[in-house]
Amino acid sequence: MKHTLSVLVKNHYGVLSHVSGLFTRRGYNIDSLSVGETDNPEESIITLVVDEEPHMVLQIEKQLYKLVDVISIEDLTKKESLQRELVILTVKTSKDKRHEILGLVDVFKATIVDMTDSAIMIEMSSNPRRIDTFIRVFSEYTILKMARTGTIALEFPSSKLENTKK
């Protein structure tokens, strides 16, 4: 089962190596990892999506807690949270296909960021499932280039589901 872990860490040299290294050396499966500063420049949040059994996720949390730079960990799977990914892709197009593609962009409420006679660049941010669908739909055309971020996530302020910490 997929778990989204939000790991608050000290924002300094080598933290990402410590976290990603833990995953390689203990053989945990990791689907995505994204990292960025928080409102406090001394702290970052690393959002991890792991695909493991619940007991293994617990073990991962405990191992993460042992890293000196880890401040706190939240398993957002146990909470109501907003999960977002961003995808940017460039699809091949021609005059007769353009209208069709623009229609799909509209359906997904995605954004056109650049266009030439032969290619369109589209961006979309959404939950991981909708991003998957978006990519699947556009694979029917020729995707020339694509980049996708990992998941970032935050608990809804109104979330009432229990979170077990530590």
Binding site: G14, G21, L58, K62, K66, V68, I71
Partner: protein
């Protein structure tokens, strides 16, 4: 500009360089000794070291420095410190750091590094020490400014010693060593305090108390954590009060006196048959600072399968890691037992303890005495008697290590020093040197093999130069004994590359280092050999020739169930059967 830089502008401290600040911080934190080897990128540190109060022992290879620091830390519970230069100096201590991390030994390594401006340029003797040590340290840091030296040093010391101890490494660029700062007094650490404050007692304390009081066939399974947390008095109290037999891991030997009537010695792959049998039969097993590793619980589904499993460990990540437990407490072991013991009902020795005593009598450690040659087990048995079981035993890795664990049942914590988790050949000699510095007057005896001793034999010079009287026993069977044993048992006697052809003459080696040495070959020379070993005031070597086909028994093959235990079978042609129950007082 960093926070500290701003602070330092305001302070009235005298400017000191980074090297000086680190040495002073070490001294302020009661660190008295270190082992090391100088080189280009650590020279400013060595310059500051020269007239400081920090006692330094020069080794002959950086691996010797880190193992010596480990031996010292294991023998005393204090922090072991080693100093090396950059590049090869740093890579040479990797094995020791991995070893110390695995065995939860508090070690701090300080490595020189090329100047900050040269980092990443493939400079001479540059290596990514920080990156390479991430998996084998509990804390590591690359210093960038002399203003950070005091804080990072304090953090490294604190983390290495706190909670489940481990390794710290500080990578110290040459320009930071000479950089000046006034920022070294009343420094605050910048790590969350749960990393170093004694943890609260969390988990099922009441459940464990009632389980112990209800259990009819309980067993205590003690590991290295019992020694780290100084919980031996509490363990003894619990065992005696509730009449619970005690099995020990290799790392836990000495946490409970090996000659106590409730001691069953070591369990696991080469544990006593009665220890393993007791674990098979028990209805409650309580892991005390032990981690169900694969040499103990080879087959996790078979391990103590009739028992309620309980575990107390300071590291919550050890709970439910390999074996799922029914009752867990995450806490400092000593604190947890202090809370538990008053609620334990006093019991008198009953049918379970008499069953255990019967198991001991029926399944002793055994071997054939031979026809005049020296059996290593017999030698160790005699050594135990001669030293009254009071010597500090350090071992290398292999058959001799297992025989020592079996036939020298140590009585005190920190009396058995060995590479448990990583199994590092070459650990023994430098670790014995470190241990001897730590324990002072007590005799330190290294039990090694002809394979292991050659992995760090250069440290004989360290022992000689600093007058460190370690007593070295080399069991010489001309083979990598444990490898040979596995090849004989599991690879149809195909002895691929396990013969130590062209072994050196160990007596001449000792002489070359100006040390005394003696070789014994026959059983009736043992007495004379032991006298030589124990009466010598300097470091010395006793080479003991032993038969190459001798094996470590009993043995539960890797991953196998208890029923597949292989025990020694008496063979008349190999002399009389000799049996020992070392755990009978």
């Amino acid at each position: 500009m960093s926070k500290e830089k701003k602070d330092s502008k305001l302070s009235n401290n005298i400017e000191k360089n980074g090297a000086r600040i680190m040495i002073d911080t070490l001294l302020e934190n009661n660190i008295e000794v270190c082992w090391g080897y100088p080189g280009g990128a650590i020279l400013p540190f060595y310059d500051a070291l020269m007239h400081s109060k920090l006692k330094h022992y020069l080794v002959r290879h950086e691996q010797g420095a880190v193992h010596a620091a480990q031996g010292y830390a294991r023998a005393t519970g204090k922090l072991g410190v080693c100093i090396t230069t950059s590049g090869p100096g740093a890579t040479n201590i990797m094995t020791g750091l991995a070893d110390a991390k695995m065995d939860s030994t508090p070690v701090l390594a300080v490595t020189g590094q090329v100047a900050c401006a040269d980092i990443g340029s493939d400079a001479f003797q540059e290596v990514d020490t920080y990156g390479m040590t991430i998996p084998i340290t509990k804390y590591n840091a690359l210093l960038k400014s002399a203003d950070d030296v005091a804080r990072v040093t304090k953090e490294a010391i604190t983390i290495a010693l706190s909670g489940r101890p481990g390794t710290s490494l500080i990578d110290f660029p040459k320009d930071v060593q000479v950089g000046l700062s006034t920022n070294y007094k009343n420094i605050k650490m910048r790590i969350p305090d749960y990393h170093f404050k004694n943890p609260p007692i969390e988990g099922d304390v009441d459940k464990l108390i009632s389980a112990i009081n209800k259990a009819e066939k309980p067993v205590l399974y003690v590991g290295g954590g019992a020694i780290t947390s100084n919980a031996y008095n509490e363990i003894k109290e619990l065992a005696e009060k509730a009449q619970i037999p005690v099995v020990s891991t290799l790392m836990g030997l000495g946490a409970f006196a090996g000659n106590h009537e409730l001691s069953l010695g070591m369990l696991g792959m080469h544990g006593t048959a009665y220890a393993n049998k007791a674990v098979m039969e028990c209805d409650l097993i309580i892991a005390l600072g032990a981690r169900f590793d694969d040499r103990v619980a080879g087959n996790t589904s078979d391990f103590a399968k009739k028992a309620i499993k309980a575990q107390i460990d300071i590291d919550p990540a050890e709970i439910d890691k390999r074996v799922f437990v029914d009752i867990y407490i995450s806490a400092n072991l000593k604190e947890a037992l202090k809370k538990i013991n008053p609620h334990i009902k006093k019991k008198t020795s009953g049918s379970w303890v008499s069953f255990i005593q019967k198991l001991k009598k029926e399944n002793p450690l055994k071997f054939d005495l031979g026809k005049g040659e020296i059996k290593p087990q017999y030698f160790l048995h005699e050594l135990y008697k001669k030293t009254k079981g009071d010597a500090v035993i350090v071992t290398d890795v292999g058959q001799h290590q297992m025989w020592s664990a079996q036939y020298y049942p140590v009585k005190h914590p920190r009396q058995f020093i060995t590479s448990g988790g990583l199994g590092t050949m070459g650990y023994g000699l430098p670790a014995a040197i470190g241990a001897k510095i730590g324990v002072g007057e007590k005799p330190v005896i290294l039990i090694s093999g002809d394979g292991s001793i050659q992995m760090n034999i250069q440290e004989l010079a360290t022992a000689k130069m600093h007058h460190i009287p370690v007593k070295i026993v080399i069991f010489n069977n001309g083979f990598l004994g444990m490898v040979r044993q596995w090849q004989e048992l599991f690879f149809e006697k195909r002895f691929s590359h396990s013969i130590m052809g062209y072994n050196p003459n160990f007596i001449k080696i000792a002489e070359a280092y100006d040390l005394k040495a003696k070789r014994i070959i026959k059983k009736d020379e043992i007495e004379e050999g032991l006298n030589f070993l124990l009466e010598n005031n300097d470091a010395c070597i006793l080479e003991v020739k032993i038969p190459c086909a001798e094996k470590v028994y009993p043995m539960i093959p890797a991953g196998a169930k208890y029923e597949s235990i292989i025990d020694y079978e008496h063979d008349n042609s190999k002399g009389n059967l000799f049996t020992v129950v070392p755990n009978n007082p």
